[in-house]
């Protein structure tokens, strides 16, 4: 589903060049739940942003569903983000004066879906994250864990094939973090491919695969036992 070939990313300033990613080769298959781990500044978030087309790359290639994203126009990249990719950010990134419903509706608006279909999708997503009763709340009226569940609802309402999560539990306590992880696992079991940046080795272990990045290079790609087998 995702194929990276010799992908490199360099950040340049007037004085220095920083190689954020060097010749990354990676294959991620449909339905995988992969964790991206590594020390701070190793390039995890950069890789995730490139996969989410939020950032460009300097060399190599990135194929999504067999098609290169290189050279796509702004409109094509936006459409790709809107239809195929869902984002979950560490700091939730909810619009504070929009209701929960309006926040989840945001990506659906730009897809041009009719109001009835938007409503149906939002309600399904809210049911899944267990926040249907709070659809008219503002983000500030929810706990951190609930806000992250809203962000997850927003990410999945568009029924994306890939979910990119950048430290989704980074701002949560352990109980809420566990709830969010369970939710992500549930979404993955429904067939959605998930790539998650994390510092937490336990969470990395819960994902089916651990992709480690050090100094911008892919070092290890550990396959764990599937979650279902572990619990059995």
């Amino acid at each position: 589903m995702i194929t990276l070939t010799n992908l490199s990313k360099i950040f340049r300033t007037e004085l220095i060049e920083t190689h954020a990613l060097r010749d990354v080769n990676l294959q991620i298959n449909e339905g995988e739940f992969a964790a991206l781990t590594g020390p701070s500044g190793s390039g995890k978030s950069t890789l995730l942003n490139i996969l989410g087309t939020l950032e460009s790359f300097d060399s190599g290639d990135y194929l999504l569903d067999g098609k290169s994203v290189k050279g796509l126009s702004d409109a094509a990249l936006s459409q790709l983000r809107n239809e195929k990719i869902g984002f979950i950010f560490q700091s939730f990134n909810l619009i504070k004066d929009f209701s929960i419903y309006d926040n989840i509706e945001l990506p659906l608006r730009y897809r041009g879906l009719k109001a009835a279909e938007r409503k149906q999708r939002i309600e399904q997503a809210l049911e899944l994250v267990g926040l249907h009763a709070r659809r008219d709340y503002l983000p500030a009226q929810l706990s951190g864990g609930q806000q992250q569940r809203v962000a997850i609802a927003r990410a999945i309402a568009g029924r994306p094939r890939i979910l990119l999560a950048d430290e989704p539990t980074g701002n949560l306590d352990s109980l809420m973090a566990r709830q969010v992880m369970e939710l992500l696992e549930q979404i993955n079991q429904q067939g959605c491919t998930i790539l998650m940046v994390t510092h937490d080795p336990d969470q990395a272990r819960r994902a089916g695969r651990n992709i480690q990045i050090i100094d911008g290079q892919l070092h290890d790609s550990t396959m764990y036992e599937p979650l279902a087998t572990q619990s059995a």
């Binding site: 978030s45 942003n49 989410g52 939020l54 950032e55 702004d74 409109a75 936006s78 459409q79 983000r81 809107n82 239809e83 984002f87 950010f89 990134n93 619009i95 004066d97 929009f98 945001l106 990506p107 608006r109 730009y110 897809r111 041009g112 109001a115 927003r154 568009g158």
Partner: protein, 432 residues
């Protein structure tokens, strides 16, 4: 449409988020536009065509038939009574009228306190030529002297408290006149028929008096006049008609190019005859200026209004820069939201539609502010420049132009900041 309403809702939420900087931006834009509107109102009214479709058929003839020796001089703005008589002998024009402005005091009876009145001394064709609407009665039957006046609507209301006063009498400077007509609401803007007055924003006169009566009763011109001898023309009745007192402005209506050509020929022949008779010592220099060129011909475009126009335009530019700077700060503080929307799938075109919603709201708010400030500005200019102290309503053309100006300015104020915000780094903004 539903999506655009959504964009408007988002814009309103964004305003609610930081109302003070937004209000300041709108205020600065409103001040710039309002001051510009005020001046544009005067400029527009001064430069508009008061008689579209007819102003190129009304001509102002001028000739140098005067006891005055000069080379390369232009003919005076006004004609003498005898010049008018000679020009009026032609039957080429479809209509013709001589006139001048004067002043008097009017009242209903001699024991009442007098009311100052602006008087236009003129002839019957004046009303037809300048399309003056009559509410009641009629104009004079001919161009002879009559103790009959025509009143403006406001003067009829002021003196009688009503407009249906045909047949009533009044006292004008201790002489009795009967009212034969009352004008409907009428204001020619710019008031170009008063080519000698140089004040084209003045209100319509209160009382219209026959030309011959004006001469008989010694009503002297209170605007431009010129004499070429030492005669005491205060005795207008006895000296005014024969002497070299030039106080009459004269208009002729020439509907066709053939009429205009024939009339120029007529003026040329008249000047040659006068020269032969020794009454035209200067070289022949006749002018026949159409109404729509009269301001340019006399160079009467007021310099103060032009200077104001330039200053207000520069002021508007400064306001645009300031408003744009404030808008940039606002947009940059909202850049996170732009980036989030882009990350979630909005393309730049969709963000620009959001910007158009912002522009629309800013146009509405700044237009309202600008109209208020513009109205205040016009009132202030009326107070500071009493000679221009007339402000009629904003007509549809002017309102449309003002709306367009507000729209363009709002767009300019919003364009750069929104482009900056929509081209920011997605990743960086979402991390912050």
């Amino acid at each position: 449409m539903e999506q655009f309403i959504y964009y408007l809702k988002v814009s309103l939420l964004s305003i609610k988020r930081a109302p003070l900087p937004y209000a300041l931006t709108v205020f600065i834009l409103s001040v710039g536009l309002g001051v510009f509107f005020a001046n544009a109102t005067f400029y527009y009214q001064l430069n508009s065509d008061p008689l579209p479709g007819k102003s190129d058929k009304l001509f102002f003839p001028m000739t140098l038939i005067a006891p005055y020796q000069c080379n390369d001089c232009r003919p005076p703005r006004a004609l003498s009574y005898s010049n008018v008589q000679k020009l009026a002998a032609s039957d080429i024009p479809s209509a013709q009228a001589a006139m001048y402005s004067s002043a008097g005091y009017a009242r209903l009876t001699i024991d009442q306190p007098p009311t100052p009145a602006r008087v236009r001394v003129t002839q019957r064709d004046f009303f037809q030529m300048f399309e003056v609407p009559l509410l009641h009665g009629s104009v004079w039957a001919d161009d002879n002297a009559h103790n009959q006046v025509i009143l403006s609507r406001s003067m009829a209301l002021k003196l009688f408290g009503r407009t249906g006063v045909v047949g009533e009498s009044l006292v004008l400077d201790d002489r009795n006149f009967s009212v034969i007509g009352v004008l409907d609401e009428w204001q020619m803007l710019p008031r170009l028929y008063d080519a000698n007055g140089r004040n084209h924003l003045s209100p319509t006169e209160d009382i219209f008096l026959p030309l011959e009566t004006g001469y008989d009763l010694n009503y002297l011109s209170n605007s431009y006049s010129q004499t070429y001898d030492d005669t005491d023309y205060r005795q207008l009745a006895t000296e005014g008609r024969s002497g070299a007192l030039h106080q009459l402005q004269y208009w002729v209506q020439l509907d066709t190019a053939a009429q205009q050509h024939d009339y120029q020929q007529y003026m040329q022949s008249l000047a040659e005859d006068e020269k032969a008779a020794g009454r035209h010592p200067a070289p022949i220099n006749n002018q026949l200026v159409p109404m729509n060129e009269i301001v340019d011909y006399f160079g009467d475009d007021p310099g103060d209004i032009k200077a104001f126009a330039l200053v207000t335009l520069l002021f508007l530019v400064v306001c645009l820069f300031n408003a744009s700077h404030l808008a940039l700060n606002r947009y940059l503080s909202n850049q996170y939201e732009f980036s989030l929307r882009r990350a979630l799938g909005a393309n730049r075109s969709q963000l620009q539609l959001q910007m158009l919603a912002d522009v629309l709201l800013m146009t509405v708010f700044s237009l309202l502010g600008a109209l208020l400030i513009g109205y205040a500005g016009v009132s202030l200019m009326n107070a500071l420049l009493p000679q221009n102290s007339l402000f009629s309503t904003w007509d549809l053309t002017l309102i449309t132009a003002l709306i367009l100006a507000a729209l363009v300015c709002s767009y300019l104020v919003t364009l750069y900041p929104s482009l900056r915000a929509s081209f920011g780094s997605l990743n960086q903004q979402l991390k912050e």
